[in-house]
Symmetry: C2
Subunit: 283 residues, 2 copies
């Protein structure tokens, strides 16, 4: 199990490089399910404690916050990650937003408009289930974005993320990397299990048929938008237990790196204790 | 432990009546901590399953949703309830909103304006940590609301909650009922524990000094606004284990009563399965 004290072990290992790791691999941390589940349990306590401190810092006037961006092909486990990893922390400190196909009303604004509305407040852990990166991926694969327009969007997104960083937001971008074989299994499972059918969308097959184009689009995104202030991590996601463990550890390392601090009281503790003794309530 | 199959056992027992239960009591369900903690663990599974079904129903076009309103004196455990009870379910399906003292910008709108902005969407479980009821409580105790204005607000709030019910929202209003003695202990604990000091606010003592006035204001609220479509429940909250158990069971009974259903697919399952077999991806 990764020690979060030594800083960036998981972050260093999973940061996107020239080649993505195998979707079925476990490049850092536990290589077996049982150990990963144990690790996730202890991750819950560590993540909760760090998140509470960040939240408290925000109440005390701090402006720092964290934004986790989840991207990946259909069935790659964005929803499962939210449930199993973000479900470990207090809902008070989590701000979750899913970005579906833009509505007619949303399309009347520029593409970052709806994204900005969902940014986390001070002390919060924001989670984007899909994000502004869909606004490059989908039009690119559909052939609706010229090379020039694409370059402009990269520049806009980098400027947007720089602005977030300047305002105290640590952005953690995670690509949940599954194989097409695993996706096939999961799509089939959604179709044959009545309680999972609502998760299936016939449009998923359309996106699946463009698999190589999406992988190319992602590779280009990583090259253009993985920066030190907002890096991309590739998390092998064919094994759900590894995916959950890895995203939890990425968040823990990120939060631990911020060293969030409970704020000093802006009142006189002894004076309040004395007043408290004097308060008698006859209810 | 309460069976949620038999409908409304916990709801019936905790619905506000002429007299509130003792804050240290356990009027229904487990009377001991260990049993309540076991119950809460199993509640997690039941609540998660029901919430997922409601969420799925919403994805399938359903409009039903649930709104949990949490009220209570400072330290009564609104935050703890969110962490321990709402923390049991998938963050995707939870919409949490805290209502603090209105900001200058909020005060330029009528008091329900900021409340409406935070209402849950279809399939969501909304949670209000304080609510529009603060807009009766605080001005009433401060002497800023005439009896006429108060009656008007009751009428407005009842009309608002009727509107919510008509639109498919099941409202569950919970008063976390603590004793002044327990509050004293909790305030003291916040002051003497450095990591808890951020939760303490000198203004808490001001509200505490008006304890009987707040209890009167709550009694009046229960009388005027506890309706069949949006009932008030009084949860004894001196014991955190009882409070968590009781709120979880109230939610379970409420959700079970809705009988949320996974939607029927709006596509041809067999046709999709056949298409799936035909899709080969060379990644």
């Amino acid at each position: 199990m990764a020690k979060n004290d030594d800083g960036s072990r998981v972050r260093n290992a999973l940061r996107v490089g020239d080649e993505l790791p195998d979707p079925g691999s476990a490049p850092v941390g536990p290589g077996k399910k049982a150990k990963a589940l144990d690790g996730l349990e202890s991750a819950g306590e560590r993540l909760s404690a760090l998140q509470e401190a960040l939240f408290a810092e925000g109440v005390g006037g701090g402006t720092r916050r964290v934004l986790l961006v989840l991207q990946g092909m259909d069935t790659s486990g964005k929803g499962g990650t939210v449930s199993h990893v973000l479900g470990l922390v207090n809902p008070m400190g989590v701000r979750y937003a899913a970005f579906k196909k833009p509505t007619a009303a949303e399309r009347r604004h520029e593409y970052l408009w709806r994204i900005r509305k969902q940014l986390p407040a001070a002390g919060q852990l924001g989670v984007f289930d899909r994000s502004h990166y869909e606004d490059i991926l989908v039009p690119r694969v559909s052939g609706l974005l010229t090379a020039d327009e694409r370059q402009r969007r990269y520049a806009e997104i980098n400027a947007f993320e720089q602005e977030l960083a300047d305002a105290g937001t640590t952005v953690v971008k995670v690509f949940l990397h599954i194989s097409p074989e695993e996706q096939l299994k999961r799509l089939k499972a959604r179709l044959v299990t009545p309680e999972k059918r609502w998760k299936y969308n016939p449009g998923d097959l359309e996106a699946r048929s463009h698999w190589p184009a999406y992988q190319d689009a992602y590779a280009d995104i990583f090259e253009k938008t993985s920066t030190d202030r907002a890096p991309w991590y590739a998390v092998p996601a064919d094994h759900k237990w590894y995916r959950n463990w890895a995203v939890a550890e990425l968040l823990i390392e990120t939060l631990a790196g911020l060293k969030p601090r409970f704020p000093e009281p802006d009142y006189d503790v002894d004076a309040e204790l004395a007043k408290l003794k004097g308060v008698g309530v006859s209810a």
